[in-house]
């Protein structure tokens, strides 16, 4: 080792090779995971799989109710989280002064982002299911997921709002616009791509999480579609969990197919978010 250290260029070569190795150790397994799921899941995907209800104790048929359930949950979560998250982001970027309250708000956001997903599940159970008596329902699940994705929406929206140059606001104010008019007509329109990115990332996260919906909404097996927000529903991630651990002898094809649909849904949303952000950064007018 001492001898090696004497030649800094050889040390550098060894060190850089190790760094490349570290990168490959992340990239290759991830690539493999995605390739395996696509390769083994694709044969299961057909119109019937997407549009049919599960049959024979989930050993055949399709995953339509799970897709619809996830769609309802995600929509509900975003209806709840987007307005609150956006207004909170406006507060932090436009109104908050550098004081203790702001510091506490930021700390609270960091903590909300770090609360384990299963703890959100417990919270949803205690507050929405038991205390408010919503029962295990789409409403309870959506609200739980909504609170969970709040930090994502706040952080990304705030970043978008803060990237708008101060001069935009000053011009608008100097023309006699009020603070809210400035935010409404100058700041918000320019920040829309960033807000959209945050929203889509939040949607993706809500679609993929299982633990928060375990006790607040998820139905083990429900061959019909929910009729109201007070009904239980199936959901894609929970369905994948159920058919891979709770139901014996499910055809591997169906498991992989379900995993593929879920993975494709979530990765597609993230890809869209990444593309919007990338183009937004490139096209910035300032």
């Amino acid at each position: 080792m001492a001898k090696l250290m004497k030649n800094p260029y050889r040390t550098q070569k060894i060190a850089f090779s190790l760094l490349i190795l570290a990168t490959l150790l992340i990239v290759v397994p991830v690539g493999l995971i995605i390739v395996i799921i696509i390769q083994k899941g694709l044969p299961a995907i057909n119109w019937q799989f997407i549009s049919d209800i599960p049959r024979q104790g989930m050993r055949s048929g399709g995953i339509f109710p799970a897709i619809i359930g996830t769609f309802y949950l995600v929509t509900g979560a975003i209806i709840f989280a987007l307005p609150i998250g956006l207004l909170a982001a406006i507060y932090l970027s436009e109104y908050a002064k550098d004081n203790l309250l702001t510091r506490l708000v930021k700390l609270a956001i960091v903590n909300l982002a770090g609360v384990p997903s299963v703890v959100y599940g417990l919270f949803g159970l205690a507050l929405f299911v038991v205390f408010f008596k919503f029962g295990a329902s789409i409403l309870s699940g959506s609200l739980t997921l909504g609170i969970m994705i709040l930090p994502i929406i706040i952080t990304t929206s705030r970043e978008a709002l803060e990237s708008i140059p101060q001069s935009f606001r000053e011009v608008s104010l100097s023309l006699g616009a009020s603070k809210w008019q400035t935010i409404r007509h100058i700041v918000l329109p320019n920040a829309i791509p960033g807000i959209l990115t945050g929203t889509i990332l939040g949607l993706g996260r809500a679609a993929g999480e299982t633990a928060p919906i375990l006790f607040t909404v998820a139905a083990f097996y429900l061959p019909q579609l929910p009729n109201s927000i007070f009904d239980q529903a199936m959901a894609l991630p929970y369905h994948l969990y159920v058919i891979s651990t709770q139901v014996p002898n499910v055809d591997e094809k169906i498991r992989y197919g379900t995993a593929l649909v879920l993975l494709a849904l979530v990765l597609f949303m993230n890809l869209v978010a990444i593309i919007i952000r990338y183009r937004f950064r490139k096209k910035k007018k300032w």
């Binding site: 800094p8 040390t11 550098q12 060190a15 850089f16 190790l18 760094l19 490349i20 190795l21 570290a22 990168t23 150790l25 992340i26 990239v27 991830v30 995971i33 799921i37 307005p83 609150i84 207004l87 406006i90 507060y91 109104y95 309250l101 506490l104 708000v105 609270a108 956001i109 960091v110 903590n111 982002a113 770090g114 384990p116 997903s117 299963v118 703890v119 417990l122 919270f123 205690a126 507050l127 205390f131 709040l150 706040i154 603070k179 809210w180 679609a207 993929g208 299982t210 633990a211 006790f215 991630p237 969990y241 891979s244 591997e252 993975l263 979530v266 990765l267 949303m269 990444i274 990338y278």
Partner: protein, 287 residues
């Protein structure tokens, strides 16, 4: 009239602004409301350090030490795997990779962070677990080791992106100064960049570990779920999170089992709170 409208809107913005504090307090209150009732059955000391978890036997034994040790073991394993790989990858992305590759790698890492944990659990169950079983000649592949490997992949995106951020924000003239003194690129990274970014990297590692401790689905699917004190990394274990997820479905609302699971929730909440506050301090030290 417009004045009034703006007044309402600004008040609404203020309310939403502090909503995050409200939700954190609300989460804690409701965990406490349900969880603290467990004291009626078992003392806090016996709850945390009791060696057996048999929640439905008569009388119920509610000691979560095996679960705490299970979580610690899996987390330690995941940290040993993910910290060197994650920090290494962060250095590669921040310092060495060409610009194009850098963008692709960063998007790729973000994608990894987005893969739902139930999907990782599923793929780990049918590919990784048999592999671990065969390599180490174990009776089952659903062990703490498999859990650690899978969880390492969930910690890596957090570690990579925050550590990369920390390296990126080291002032340029530090690096130029080192180069001007004749240091090689690696010497600059090792002696200048890493020390300068150290508090950000510590925060990255802590937040990665926080993600691992709180992870539920993947860990429940591949660690084998045996609530006994683990003697090695090659045996099945059960973590705090998996216990809640696996047992809450059967626990009767208002039973001591139900209260005990919420008490585990309090433990998890306190751990994640401590980790996040400390990591936040480290992140702000940097600025």
């Amino acid at each position: 009239m417009r004045r009034f409208k703006e007044f309402i809107i600004e008040k609404l913005i203020l309310v939403c602004g502090v909503a995050s504090i409200f939700f954190v307090v609300l989460i804690f209150l409701f965990l406490a409301k349900e969880g603290l009732a467990v004291i009626k059955t078992v003392s806090p000391f016996k709850f945390l350090f009791g060696k057996s978890w048999y929640p439905i036997s008569e009388p119920a034994q509610l000691g979560i030490l095996p679960l705490i040790l299970g979580s610690l073991l899996v987390t330690l394993g995941a940290a040993i795997i993910s910290v060197p790989i994650g920090v290494g990858c962060a250095i590669y992305i921040a310092e060495i990779a060409p610009v194009k590759l850098k963008e692709i790698l960063k998007a790729g890492i973000e994608m990894l962070a987005a893969i739902p944990s139930v999907v990782l659990g599923f793929i780990g169950m049918i590919t990784l677990a048999p592999l671990v079983k065969n390599i180490f000649h174990l009776p089952t592949g659903l062990t703490a080791l498999s859990g650690s490997i899978m969880l390492a992949f969930m910690a890596m995106p957090t570690i990579v992106s925050i550590a990369e951020d920390a390296l990126y924000s080291v002032p340029k003239n530090y690096k130029e100064g080192a180069f001007a003194l004749g240091a090689t690129h690696w010497q600059t990274i090792w002696r200048v960049m890493l020390p300068a970014a150290s508090s950000g990297i510590v925060a990255a590692v802590m937040l990665g570990i926080g993600r691992v401790i709180g992870e539920t689905m993947a860990v429940m699917m591949i660690t084998g779920n045996a609530a006994v004190i683990p003697k090695s990394i090659f045996v099945p274990v059960r973590t705090l999170t998996a216990t809640i997820a696996a047992e809450m479905g059967e626990a009767v609302v208002g039973s001591e089992h139900y209260f005990a699971l919420f008490a585990i929730g309090i433990v998890l909440f306190v751990i994640s709170f401590a980790i996040n506050v400390t990591a936040d301090l480290f992140l702000h030290k940097r600025q």
